[in-house]
């Protein structure tokens, strides 16, 4: 390996809370934001300016260029340079020299002999804003971090080491940002080479919003502030504000590379059960599809039982959330749950998610945030989309795997655009494991952030279409007696005709405005179209026609159709900070969101093969309107306490045209009345959302939260004029978060959730039915660790004791429902364990290209679940592992799913069915039914990112 040290100008990365530090240099106009900066650099790169993007900067450091021609491996973990070299560089190269402005690094000839090769240092082409650590807002600390960054010959950041630490929070923020940077690689004698540079980040705290900036500083006034998304201020000692460009002695050079501090739009943790799952954890374990990223959320388990075209089944913290009834999902700000869906209230199909575009999961378990709306019963999950710098570019990836599964991905993420800007298209085709599971799907996700300064916009579009067969469920006694194999389907036509298709289009545009970076607002609008059709037979041959007389049963193939046209708006505004006392300050946020859904739905019994409808069960139109408003006080009380007090109210209105209403089975002569029943209902749901956070030490947070939420009703079951028939949710949470130097993050919480009226899946009708009041008490533990920059681990253990408080009301059809007071809730796993571990590291440079590897694994465990009628399901343990290598822009990965080949049930039910109607009389007692989980499978993927 040949090392040559040169003096290299580097940017001073300045992080500020409230404003970007503006240079005093008169010659150069201030760069207003990252994009502008990037554009300026781009212009210069095109020759419009002779000023190198990183020339004229504040500090000389050593840049060690690894001669690619020698194929030598950079020592990523080694120190960047010895002190003497660095000191020498600082002394010898004057900042802002003409040569530097030409984009060339000064040459150095330590021996004073032969001329050294011409070296061009790496040039920044894309920068990612760093975030001032929220945890340090209270203290208002300043800090300087210097990172040794290894830049590959493709201009990617392939290694980061901390050369000068300012504490774990600052270090992490700086590393997170610089990993997203892209460079034009260094050039040595006309050949692109890997290089290592030092990037300093200067963190300065924000100026107090309501206070005048100290004189003599170069802080720009707020109207001039660039795109910092500052939502509220932190108290800042005046002394620390004066961290100006002059203060580091390089003010005149800090122009081009100011990095804007970006504040998160909201306070992070409202309860001990709030978690942010980053890309490192999501990437750690292999996932068969994008939605499986959700498994990284503590206590959440998802599984498929009805094929590609039907939403996953979700379980979270004591809730069998069915297809989404208990979890509010948002993707890129777009609401996913569909109210009053025929296949389940709050139906949420995340099959469109493309894993490569998932940037982060924001998981809020319980109800403590006023923004949580309908279906936030067990909690809410916001999925943000983005592609960080290291992976930006154009990616093409193809995969082939078991069961003749193929997947192709095209991902477009322009390097000069924000992380949120992306476009991705994925196409998948599979024969599926076992019988009757073939499916195809295509998904497209598009998102762009545009606009400049205080006003930016984000447009997002999602389109998805899929169709698949599915095997339905099997009686476990039939499997045990070998009448049907575990991964097979019943041989009747009515079973083999099970399939589903779905399609969805979602589009939205959101405007984010910062008013002098003290107060801010968001305004968004969205529309959605969803189509769903399912043919499914859960019960075999136990249905008879209620519409036609003298018709023999033709198999219980239930056809469900649902078409929803939705539109919605959302708006929020957070006020400037109000400081009534020196020890207390806070903000007020007010917001509203509304949506309207026009839903057409039908449920029929059809005969397989001839596709004749032999009974009608549902034929209805539902118009639903949901308007929610909230207020949220966010107060910092001394540096030890943080209180939040919110209130949310929702008005829900429904109009139902039940075209089969007043139907009386075979008992009235035709002509006595015209069939149909129209009805309307409206109600108000409201409740507080509060939390208190105490910081006895820097590394410990104690949190307590309480909130009241709701779940809207299945509209078709409403009576005319029924008022407020909502499931009232009361949720409490107490726990702690512990951070140890960003190496380990621990969270533990005890929780309590009570529902006034719960629902459970009824297989006979293929939908949810009321089961009465329920309660969950339990605990969640989550650990995240990053012991090394290239190693990530996460573990969560969730315990839930879910019980029925009141038996469901008796009905004529179910005079004594199969539930009793105090019994365990069916389908809810008491224990859910999830472990993710991954490592990704560059190992060497081969032919000038970095060579690295990654390994990862994910383990999911579900304890036995209680089933109705006295049964318990089997436990589920699934282990997935992956390994891969990358070389330059290419990556080859091999993933193994269900490595232990565990034979498990993705879902399990207990109900009466008859799958052998011609040979025996009909059984009416409940029997265990399973939908098989996927067996061992593999996937080989080859991707190229340019």
């Amino acid at each position: 390996m040949q090392l040559t040290c040169i003096n290299l100008d580097l940017p001073l990365a300045r992080i500020q809370k409230s404003a970007v530090s503006m240079p005093s240099t008169p010659q150069t106009p201030p760069i207003r934001n990252t994009k502008q900066a990037a554009r300026g650099q781009h212009d210069r790169a095109l020759g419009r300016s002779c000023h190198c993007a990183i020339a004229g900067c504040c500090t000389f450091v050593c840049c060690c260029l690894f001669t690619s021609a020698l194929g030598a491996a950079p020592d990523v973990g080694a120190p960047v340079a010895d002190e003497s070299t660095e000191a020498s560089g600082k002394q010898e190269a004057p900042a802002g020299s003409e040569r530097e402005r030409e984009g060339e690094a000064p040459t150095q000839d330590p021996a004073g002999a032969a001329p050294t090769p011409q070296l061009t240092p790496p040039r920044v082409t894309h920068r990612v804003d760093a975030v001032y650590p929220p945890d340090l807002e209270r203290s208002g600390q300043a800090g300087r971090v210097e990172l040794d960054v290894t830049v590959s010959t493709e201009g990617r950041v392939v290694g980061v080491d901390v050369a000068l630490s300012a504490g774990a929070e600052f270090d992490t923020a700086a590393i997170a940002a610089v990993r997203g940077w892209r460079f034009e690689p260094a050039v040595r004698d006309g050949v692109q080479v890997a290089s290592r540079i030092r990037v300093p980040f200067e963190f300065t705290p924000p100026a107090p919003a309501s206070e005048t900036l100290p004189s003599g500083t170069q802080e720009s006034p707020s109207p001039q502030a660039p795109s910092s998304k500052v939502e509220h201020e932190s108290p800042t000692p005046p002394a620390t504000q004066a961290q100006t460009p002059e203060a580091d002695g390089h003010a005149q050079d800090a122009v081009d590379v100011v990095v804007h501090g970006r504040r998160e739009p909201r306070t992070e943790h409202r309860s001990a059960s709030d978690f942010r799952i980053g890309r490192d954890v999501i990437d750690a374990a292999p996932r068969t599809e994008g939605a499986e990223a959700l498994r990284a959320a503590p206590g959440l388990y998802i599984g498929r039982s009805e094929g590609l075209a039907v939403a996953h089944r979700y379980m979270l913290r004591g809730f069998d959330a069915d297809h989404g009834q208990d979890i509010e999902f948002r993707v890129g700000g777009l609401p996913i749950n569909l109210p009053a869906h025929i296949h389940g209230q709050g139906y949420a199909d995340l099959g469109f998610l493309i894993g490569e575009t998932v940037a982060e999961l924001e998981v809020s378990e319980g109800v403590s945030d006023p923004r949580q709306g309908d279906f936030a019963v067990a909690g809410s999950i916001d999925i943000s989309l983005g592609v960080e710098g290291e992976r930006r570019g154009v990616t093409v990836k193809s995969s082939y795997g078991a069961f003749d599964t193929t997947r192709h991905l095209a991902l477009w993420a322009p390097v000069l655009e924000a992380e949120e800007t992306l476009g991705a298209v994925s196409v998948l085709q599979t024969n599926g494991f076992g019988e009757n599971r073939a499916g195809q799907q295509g998904s497209g996700v598009f998102q762009q952030r545009f606009g400049e300064g205080d006003q930016t916009y984000r447009a997002i579009g999602i389109v998805h279409a899929t169709r698949s067969d599915h095997a339905g469920v099997l009686r476990r006694d039939d499997v045990d007696d070998a009448r049907v194999c575990f991964h097979c389907v019943y041989d009747q036509a009515t079973a083999r005709a099970q399939n589903a298709s779905s399609g969805r289009l979602l589009a939205g545009i959101f405007s984010d405005t910062t008013y002098g970076d003290r107060d801010n607002s968001t305004l968004g609008m969205w529309i959605g179209v969803d189509n769903f059709r399912l043919q499914s037979n859960y019960t075999g041959f136990v249905e008879h026609s209620r519409t036609l007389s003298g018709v023999a049963g033709r198999g219980d193939l239930i056809e469900q159709r649902n078409r929803t046209l939705s539109a919605g708006v959302t708006a929020r505004y957070r006020s400037p900070r109000y400081r009534p006392a020196h020890w207390a300050h806070g903000t007020l946020e007010v917001g509203a969101d509304g949506r309207i859904d026009d839903i057409e739905q039908a449920q029929n019994l059809i005969e397989a093969g001839r596709n004749e409808t032999w009974d009608q069960r549902v034929d209805a139109t539902v118009l639903g309107i949901d308007l929610g408003v909230w207020g949220d006080l966010d107060w910092v009380l001394t540096k030890y306490a943080h209180a939040r007090l919110g209130l949310r109210a929702d008005v829900l209105s429904y109009e139902v045209d039940d075209r089969l209403g007043n139907f009386v089975e075979l008992s009235r002569p035709p002509g006595s009345f015209i069939q149909g029943f129209r009805r309307s209902a409206l109600g108000l749901a409201w409740g507080p959302r509060t939390s208190v956070e105490v910081h006895p030490t820097e590394w410990l947070s104690l949190l307590a939260a309480y909130g009241e939420g709701y779940r809207s009703p299945q509209a078709r079951q409403l009576e005319d004029g029924e008022r407020a028939p909502y499931t009232k949710v009361r949720s409490g949470d107490v726990g702690a978060h512990v951070d140890w130097d960003e190496i380990v993050h621990l969270a533990a919480a005890g929780y309590y959730t009570q529902l006034s009226d719960d629902v459970a899946f009824d297989a006979a009708e293929g939908r949810l039915e009321r089961i009465g009041a329920t309660r969950r008490v339990g605990a969640v533990f989550h650990a995240y660790t990053k012991p090394l920059p290239w190693v990530t681990g996460a573990l969560s253990v969730t315990y839930a004791h879910a019980t029925l408080l009141e038996p469901p009301p008796a009905t004529a059809e179910e005079p004594q429902p199969p539930f009793k007071e105090g019994q365990a809730l069916p389908f809810v796993p008491p224990i859910v364990v999830r472990a993710d571990a991954g490592a990704k590291r560059a190992l060497a440079t081969v032919r000038g290209q970095p060579l690295g590897t990654r390994v990862g694994s994910g383990l999911s465990y579900l304890s036995p679940r209680p089933l109705p009628y006295g049964n318990n399901s089997e436990p589920v343990t699934v282990l997935d592992v992956a390994a891969g290598v990358w070389w330059g822009p290419a990556e080859l990965s091999f993933e193994l799913f269900n490595l232990l080949d565990a034979r498990y049930a993705a879902v399990e039910y207990n109900f009466a069915s008859d799958w052998d109607p011609n040979d025996d009389v009909r059984p009416r007692t409940p029997a265990r039914h399973i939908a098989a989980g996927a067996p061992f499978s593999w996937m080989l993927s080859l991707g190229v990112t340019l």
């Binding site: 003298g550 004594q816 009628y869």
Partner: protein, 253 residues
């Protein structure tokens, strides 16, 4: 793994065996007749029953007070069929009722002939097939004033096409007392039929009057009833809605 983590797991596992509401049960099922063979009918007719075989099954026990369509999901069931010798009072074990613990308040059963949802006509199960596709087969000798009438009664009890197809025919009525809490340690169930009440209403007088009894010839006749008519309808109605079997819980042979 930190040392206290296993402790948490152990504590958590303590909740795994949570109460789930009901427990599965499997109860021995016995059936029996009443044992009597001689019955005095109206009009001084004495009936000597020589054979009385009843096809029985399947049997469903339901949680609600009304069976039929309101018993889509049964608490317990016995899906077989068996021929019961109504003249034999000794219990015979015929299988096991399978289901779950909990209250049962109604029952329903077929008499060897079931209406399957996938068929448009009733289906004779094994027991009925053994009786020539009938639910009840009776051979008896009726005597009045020295006249003898040899009787063969073959009755079919099945679901009418206009009825609740797919639902057993004989069901508990509101006046029948039936309320039992099935426990996990249930010993057995004996279902005992007494055919005598079904026969008592038989009006055989018209048939005796039709006998051609000369002065010297023995006054004997033979009567075969296997199609709807007064006797047939009487017996069918009696089987469906007449005297009920006795359900003896806790029976142990």
């Amino acid at each position: 793994m930190r040392p206290w983590l296993p402790c948490i797991l152990v504590l958590c596992c303590s909740g795994c065996g949570a109460e789930t509401g009901q427990e599965p049960v499997s109860i021995p099922l016995h059936v029996a007749g009443s044992g009597g063979t001689s019955i005095v009918l109206d009009n001084d007719v004495e009936l000597q029953v020589l054979r009385a075989d009843l096809a029985f099954g399947p049997l469903y026990l339901c949680s609600g007070p009304e069976a039929g369509d309101f018993c889509e999901t049964a608490r317990a069931e016995w899906l077989d069929s068996v021929v019961i010798d109504l003249l034999d009072s000794s219990p015979a074990r015929v299988g096991r009722i399978r289901g779950s613990t909990g209250t049962v308040r109604s029952w329903m059963y077929d008499l060897g002939i079931s209406s399957l949802l996938t068929e448009t006509s009733p289906t004779a199960l094994d027991a009925a097939q053994a009786l020539g596709n009938a639910s009840l087969l009776v051979e008896a000798l009726a005597e009045r004033d020295g006249a003898e009438l040899s009787l063969t009664l073959r009755v079919v009890v099945d679901q009418a096409p206009e009825g609740e197809w797919g639902v057993p025919v004989v069901r508990r009525s509101r006046s029948d007392e039936f309320d039992h809490e099935i426990r996990a340690d249930e010993q057995g169930l004996l279902v005992r039929f007494d055919a005598a009440p079904w026969f008592r209403g038989l009006d055989l007088a018209p048939y005796f009057e039709e006998l051609d009894c000369g002065d010297d010839a023995p006054c004997r006749g033979e009567l075969v009833i296997d199609a709807p008519g007064p006797l047939y309808n009487h017996l069918r109605l009696a089987l469906e809605a007449g005297a009920r079997p006795v359900f003896d819980w806790g029976f142990s042979p």
